[in-house]
Symmetry: C4
Subunit: 205 residues, 4 copies
């Protein structure tokens, strides 16, 4: 991996790190009508939609960072199409705090379905940008390390296509029932994290 | 590129990464009068000025980061004038979220022209700081790698002058019609991004 | 330490740096009824709960960063369980600004006990994630440098267990008296910082 | 400079970069009563105290970063006292956005003197932490590169003492007249920046 890749990686890591940290700013300190310990306890428990949104978004962004990490390790150089596709990925990663805040505000209200669809729909667009990033890297093996087998790329491509399908399904589900769509999302998040947990570390270099 | 340049680059990258990520904080979760899915959908669509401002600013800052990247690659050492001119660039880069928020708030209202002029005017000042940065680097080939041809620098300088002219024109246009000024801005952004997309990667080292 | 560890460290450092810096955003500029120098002075002094919360949280996060730093220095490679446990640590580190803001808002009011318990309780969860991180690293010496003695790990493990006990005790204390719980917390923070201050630098490599 | 120093530097750079970028969040988009281009123009001009505070704080933090940079270049290793003194510096650097926001809000109002004194007083404390950092580094040449002459350290120490004296004087001036204190501050900032601008780059390694 050359110096240019290093700088692209460092910039991307910075954006991921900031986006994941800004999520917390969307949880607001509750205002109390009666200043008592009990009231504060009730108000904090009432923030469960914020905590849930924060929790899901955090792990989605973390997983996206790990995927980004994994993909960039296969790359031997940077060119402008890669930089622009990477820019699209980062555009969407930095966008995540906003649908998270919308979900935090409206989860559990009569506007749950729209909030959940907007939230899951964001991940559809993110999945599209990851597919574009992969294409910009893997087209004709343009930027890949020479010794990589096509099967390694195929496996990643299949994962990305599957992710896109899951997010699209969950978005459609949200129009019927927001909790169902979110539930599918969280379920798959759990599956992916536990798959990763068991996976041996790949040593591509 | 020596260690000092590395630290300057890392600090600048950090500032670019944070500025580009803070843009999202300016989009506020809409407040609903009637808590329904339809109302939230309408309210989210009503945020188009915020999304548009976010989108434009993101790619402008990304392009500025790529330019910064490209320029710093030509540099072989850091001195204090370079550090101060770089400081001016960063001052303006970190400023971008504010005019973006102003545009997000007032685009589509009777105050569109002023908001757009303020927004485009910010890029005029940014273009000035980039020209100052280039001057601090290229004056007498002071800090450039020895083997660089003058034509490479000339090409960058011409691009910077052209960018300054475009932003100045779009600012003036805004006083007549804000959408026209913004349109020119977006048009040139598209041109620059697609030029970059086609450009072969320059390998100056 | 290999390149992968380097990137994990850099990402974690970014998250720590951002979380520690976001703390200040929770202190709000006071609004004055009467615009006078005296009124502003009084209002600024009235922010003492915010300053105190900021101060404590800053040093807790700094200490956590130093601990993270110290632990990662012992590691010779990264695998997915380590990445996920590290993710849990970062999830909780980025969460810190929220209980800090709650404490800043309600310290000194009749809701002090709940605010303090929520604040101290957060550190209990953080201590748990650190223990998980240590376990993911040290289990069967899986990811440790070969020459490390078991006593070095034992010492760290004992410190982590002790920290967990302290935070749990202070949380329980808060249900009785918020100031007592916070006081224990601050006391131990002072002890740990002064222990570190005297400690010779360990050179494990 | 060893790896440990590198990680301390990277963490500190991250904190500086974030603190300098968060300054912009304190400038709020003006709310208009009458939605017209003229009204927005007037409102933006009315933000001059925010722009001025932003501008001064940006360059003060930039200068502090350059000083930090310069000092750490002389260091050959890191120990815990250095880490804690560096922590104090960072505590105060991340604090800067708050007094900046206070100044932005109250500059030009009858509460100017207190706001300016609070602002300048912050820099007094920052100057104290820099003196502590220098002491932790230079005491008995503990952590310095062997070939450094005492005069280099003496020169830095004199600069730090002078900075402390200037900030203390400007704070005292603020109690008499806020503009006078701020004026002294800005004047010295200009002097320091122009001195740096002329200074040949020191090559200590």
């Amino acid at each position: 991996m050359d110096k240019e890749t290093g700088r692209l990686e460092a910039f991307s890591d910075g954006v991921f790190a900031i986006a994941i940290t800004l999520l917390i700013l969307e949880i607001r300190v509750p205002k109390l009508e009666h200043l008592t310990d009990v009231a504060l306890g009730v108000a904090l428990r009432g923030l469960w939609p914020s905590f849930a949104s924060y929790f899901i978004s955090f792990f989605v962004v973390l997983l996206m960072w790990m995927n980004h990490h994994e993909l960039l390790r296969l790359v031997r150089g940077v060119d402008n199409p890669l930089m622009l596709c990477n820019g699209l990925v980062l555009l969407m990663v930095t966008f995540v705090p906003f649908p998270t805040a919308v979900l935090a505000q409206y989860l559990g209200t009569p506007a749950t379905d729209t909030a959940a669809a907007f939230y899951c729909g964001t991940f559809v667009v993110i999945a599209l940008t990851y597919n574009a990033l992969l294409a910009s890297v893997a087209h004709n093996h343009r930027l890949l390390h020479g010794h990589l087998e096509s099967t390694a790329i195929l496996k990643i491509r299949r994962t990305y296509h599957f992710g896109l399908a899951v997010y699209a399904t969950s978005t459609v589900l949200c129009f019927w029932n927001g909790y169902a769509g979110l539930g599918l999302n969280v379920l798959m998040l759990g599956v992916w994290l536990s798959l990763r947990y068991q996976e041996p570390v790949s040593s591509s270099k």
